[in-house]
């Protein structure tokens, strides 16, 4: 039975005590060191070369994100299991990008954590149930082209030249008055064009408009 050598990093003493206890229950786990802040975590990880580092995000000095980045750079073989209160998709996204083997929420600690450590040790990954949706969305987004397409020669299908202009300028975040001034028309004309083009393209709201414009390459490169 191989022993999994573990380093834990958390700024809360009580949490560390709890983790100590949980890990002690598992015969194949060996807790070799504890860190109370990010710098210490990196130092210990690089010195002791554990198999798994259980890492909190919210720590003073270097936070968990920065520790994760540092360790992926300098000791990529160490499996990182994040143990955090943040079920915030944003943190999750960032850490997935950095490359972690597990993301466990403190609220569901103990059992999930043990399983996450084991899974990581075996090369797998475990993600808290509530974040699976976010993970799947991330995957879908990555499948879609991230780079903006080159500017197409023609306006979008069904739109007049003017409507295409209003589309681009709106996507760039110009106000109605600014667009009206640029095109030398009235604000109400701009609004009419906008309503028409939204309907023609089946877009609901500005966010969708920007996404469409970005995807199809109608955000004028010179402006940006």
């Amino acid at each position: 039975m191989t022993t999994t050598r573990i380093v834990i990093a958390d700024d809360h003493a009580v949490v560390r005590a709890g983790l100590r206890h949980i890990l002690a229950h598992e015969p194949d786990f060996q807790l070799i060191a504890e860190a109370a802040d990010g710098d210490e975590a990196v130092r210990l990880a690089l010195d002791l070369r554990p198999d798994v580092v259980v890492l909190d995000i919210g720590m003073p000095g270097m936070n968990g994100l920065e520790v994760a980045r540092a360790l992926r750079d300098r000791a990529p073989h160490i499996h990182l299991v994040i143990l955090t209160v943040y079920d915030d998709p944003e943190y999750f996204r960032q850490l997935v990008e950095i490359g972690v083997a597990g993301y466990v929420l403190k609220a569901a600690a103990d059992s999930a954590l043990v399983e996450a450590i084991r899974t990581a040790q075996h090369g797998g990954a475990l993600v808290a149930g509530s974040l699976m949706r976010t993970l799947l969305d991330l995957y879908l987004q990555r499948a879609a082209p991230a780079r903006p397409a080159p500017a197409p020669a023609e306006p979008p299908p069904g739109l007049t030249g003017r409507e295409a202009e209003v589309l681009t300028l709106t996507a760039l975040g110009y106000s109605g008055q600014q667009i009206a001034d640029r095109l030398c028309v009235s604000v109400s004309t701009v609004e009419t064009h906008r309503t028409h083009l939204m309907r023609k393209l089946g877009l609901k709201g500005r966010a969708e408009l920007v996404q469409y414009a970005m995807r199809e390459g109608y955000l004028d490169r010179d402006e940006r």
């Binding site: 009580v14 209160v85 103990d110 996507a171 975040g173 106000s175 609901k204 996404q211 940006r224």
Partner: protein
């Protein structure tokens, strides 16, 4: 338009005296001329009457009335103004007249010398105009009265012509005077007009060069003091902005502190509580204890959640740790869930630049305020929050499809709460060197546009 008042006053100050003097002078001259001319007229008549006095006595002595008549007509011929000469006897009957046998009615009675008075003058109104009538009592011998009438028309015409000329002269003088005074007044009031323009430009935020005005003998002092005043106002404004920035920073620092306290102390306690209860649950001796522990653990977990929500509302850690886009995305998603509105976020046009803590905080708070307004007032079904970059600017747009509002009216409304939020948004944008624009209408909903420079100020 207002500066015409002083100029108008100056023009009137010159014009009115000219006008008054002109009119007064003309009238005076007219009166004097009329008076002198009338005196002259009377003297002529008296002279004629005295001549006729001698002629009449001779005529009676020689009983040659015809000679007298010839004298009458001679005078008439000599002086074109003489209209008539009539000789009346003591009873007032006409003995001789240039009218012929018929003397106009009323003439006899029109002018009669009182007893003891040698002659009397009267002015008669006739169908031909005014006539000066002399009733002269014959002195030389024969009793009787000579009546001579002189038409005043020519005299009146001359007086009238003089009056007209004088009026014309007055008018010409007035015209020249007004022109000159207009030019002079314009030149003199120009520095004031210039100073007014400068004041207006400064009010718009420009800085026009007006050093030349400082040396002006009249307006110079005013200009210098005016500049001092604007300088003081600018200093005050700078102070105020500085103070406001400090207040906002202090507020953010405090929020951050409280959020951290919540996370560190309260969160830590609740976490350890949760973990401890998990242990109790695991090692429970009986199902009763286990279910009790489970319930308590869930309670603790919920409380922990609440605390974290509170901390995030105060100041999200994603804002500091990851960035504005991440923080906004989370906020918008939460907002949509909480208020059951279709809330979308897009940062596709945002290249992930970090704008610095102050800028990102300001943009985040503006978005928060805008979304709060959407939830409270807009009655919207959809709201989009878009973050992007464009030509050295970060652009944030919060747009809803709600009922819109009247910006101007809200800013003038005494209702402090709603106005405060709006003003706060403007102030925050200004403090980071950006601009905030709001477009709102009943048809299109409301859109808040924030532009912020990417370079640090």
């Amino acid at each position: 338009m207002r500066r015409l008042r002083l100029r108008t006053k100056m023009i009137l100050a010159i014009g009115l005296p000219i006008l008054i003097l002109g009119i007064a002078g003309t009238l005076y001259a007219r009166l004097m001329l009329a008076s002198i001319s009338e005196d002259e007229l009377d003297r002529r008549m008296l002279s004629i009457a005295r001549d006729l006095d001698v002629d009449a006595t001779d005529a009676v002595l020689t009983n040659d009335l015809f000679a007298l008549y010839r004298a009458f007509t001679a005078h008439m011929a000599a002086d074109p103004d003489v209209r008539y000469v009539v000789l009346l006897d003591q009873q007032g009957a006409s003995r001789l007249s240039t009218f012929g046998p018929l003397v106009p009615e009323g003439l006899r009675a029109a002018n009669a010398a009182s007893p003891g008075v040698p002659y009397s003058f009267a002015t008669l109104e006739t169908s031909e105009g005014r006539v000066r009538d002399l009733a002269y009592v014959l002195q030389q011998g024969q009793p009787g009265v000579v009546r001579i009438g002189l038409a005043m028309r020519r005299l009146e015409a001359r007086v009238g012509s003089l009056t007209a000329n004088l009026f014309g002269l007055t008018a010409a003088t007035l015209g020249v005077g007004l022109l000159v005074s207009y030019v002079v007044a314009t030149v003199l009031t120009r520095p004031l007009a210039r100073l007014a323009d400068v004041a207006r430009a400064i009010g718009r935020g420009e800085a026009p060069d007006h050093r030349a005005l400082h040396d002006h003998p009249d307006v110079g002092v005013l200009t210098i003091e005016f500049d001092r005043m604007t300088e003081r106002l600018r200093e005050k404004e700078t102070e105020r902005s500085w103070l406001l920035a400090k207040v906002i920073t202090a507020q953010e620092d405090e929020r951050q502190r409280i959020a951290r306290e919540l996370h560190d102390n309260v969160g830590q306690a609740l976490t350890s509580l949760t973990m401890g209860l998990a242990r109790v649950e695991r090692t429970a001796g009986s199902t009763e204890v286990m279910s009790l522990a489970a319930g308590l653990r869930q309670e603790a977990a919920r409380t922990l959640d609440l605390t974290r929500h509170l901390a995030r509302d105060l100041r999200p850690s994603t804002l500091d740790d990851i960035g504005l886009a991440a923080a906004l995305r989370a906020y918008v998603e939460e907002f949509g869930r909480q208020h059951d509105i279709d809330a979308r976020f897009s940062a596709e046009g945002f290249d992930g630049a970090r704008l610095g803590t102050e800028r990102e905080t300001a943009l985040y708070r503006i978005a928060q305020e805008a979304l709060t307004n959407v939830a409270r007032h807009a009655n919207a079904g959809h709201v989009s929050v878009v973050l992007g970059t464009r030509k050295g600017l970060a652009v944030l747009v919060i747009e809803d499809d709600g009922i819109g509002f009247d910006i101007a009216r809200l800013l003038n409304d005494a209702n402090a709460e709603a106005k405060l939020g709006l003003l706060g948004m403007y102030e925050r944008a200004e403090l980071i060197g950006g601009t905030l624009t709001i477009e709102s209408s009943r048809d299109m909903g409301t859109a808040v546009f924030v532009e912020s420079p990417l370079e640090p100020p």
